[in-house]
Amino acid sequence: MNIPANLQYTNDDEWVTVEGDIVTVGITDYAQDQLGDLVHVELGEVGRTVAKDEAVCEIESVKTVAEVKAPVAGEVIEVNAALADAAEQINSDPYGSWIFKLRVSAPPTGLLDAAAYQAKIG
């Protein structure tokens, strides 16, 4: 599994970048592999205020559905509209396919680095 060293990770198999007060979230290579062929992303609303661990988006594969959660409280300022008709892009390029961005007042805590995430997924 590809686990880039320059990203941070959640226990819910999301990758996260933090730039100032903007937090960008996608799902990991491991997550897309576990879900299988992705067919639809329900991107959710821009402008919504979400709590930590609240579902922002849903991604559906042929066999199942998963929520993508906010790793930290914030406001959803952007969703990746390019994924609306191209969910399979997450399968082919999970780290190039950000899903949503949050504006936060405090940075996320409890994130894993690449080595810790590798250890978690085994």
């Binding site: 299988g36 062929d37 067919v39 559906e60 042929v62 066999k63 559905v65």
Partner: protein, 360 residues
Amino acid sequence: MRRTPFHGRHVAAGARMVPFAGFEMPIQYAGIREEHLATRARAGLFDVSHMGEIRFRGPKAEASLTWLLSNAIRRMEPGQAQYNALCNERGGVVDDVFVYKLADDDFIVCVNAANREKDFAWVTEHDREGADIVDEGDDWAQIAIQGPEAVEIVDLLVDFDARAVPRHHFRHASFADVDGCLIARTGYTGEDGFEVFVPAGDAPPVWDRVLDAGVNHGLVPVGLGARDTLRLEVRNALYGHELNDDTTPLQSGLGWIVKLAKPGGFLGSDAIAARKDEGRVVVGMVVEGKRIAREGMDVLSEGRVVGRVTSGTLGPSVDRAICLAFVDRELASAGTRLTIDVRGKEAVGVVVDGPFYKRS
């Protein structure tokens, strides 16, 4: 967790293994969509060794099955296969099964993996004729070779003309140099193809022999994930979803295998006849938009719950979200628009007749 004789081949091929009905089974190899489309376009190889086999032998075998099963067992010729429902006294479905008639006094009943123990207990308890009934579930491996090129692949592995085996018939012959196999022109995918029963002890090399034979025919290994999407596109019922101990086979659209008029009836026939106009029925729906209706979701009409989804997916060949559901029977006619509660959001499902996918 039990393993099939081909377990090592799946692991070596990098399949994702999951627990299913007490077995460790491959859910996918390259991916559900790719495996599904490969089966429709050319050919797929499935390990279905988890399925159970119950042998009925002796002079009472035919009479025993005629009572226990819903279809016209007495009309079968040796070498013929027939789909049947095994029903309880209330007319509910204990299992859906395929019967293979080897000889006038020798039958193999292929049962769902999840129901192996239940079915064997049921038939031994309810056989009123005195057939010789043996659980041969561990004695057989089973593979399915499905798709338009399956017949050409099977033809390379047998010493008869595979093309000459009619649909729902089989040969008791050697396959890939293993004697005593059943090579049946049956399947669950909606494609032409074969299901082959192989004596379990001789089975392991057969997997690679079949893949080698299929190398010029686009044959790929296919997991349970695509097996489910393939069957759903052609509306084949799956036990535990569209069939269960409480609903009758008529409610599930299996009237064509229910011979209520057969002489002497069968176990459950009186109850099925009495319940003929009762209860919800299974419908197929195409779901509008991109959300996917899934098992367990409520079906509504005018704000009232009128049914429940039993199976749902995105059909890779039809490229639409499709589902099966039990709904109130007055809402079962084609064209009826119903609402499906997809995690709190409404999706429209339109009832359609017949399979979602038809072979061209």
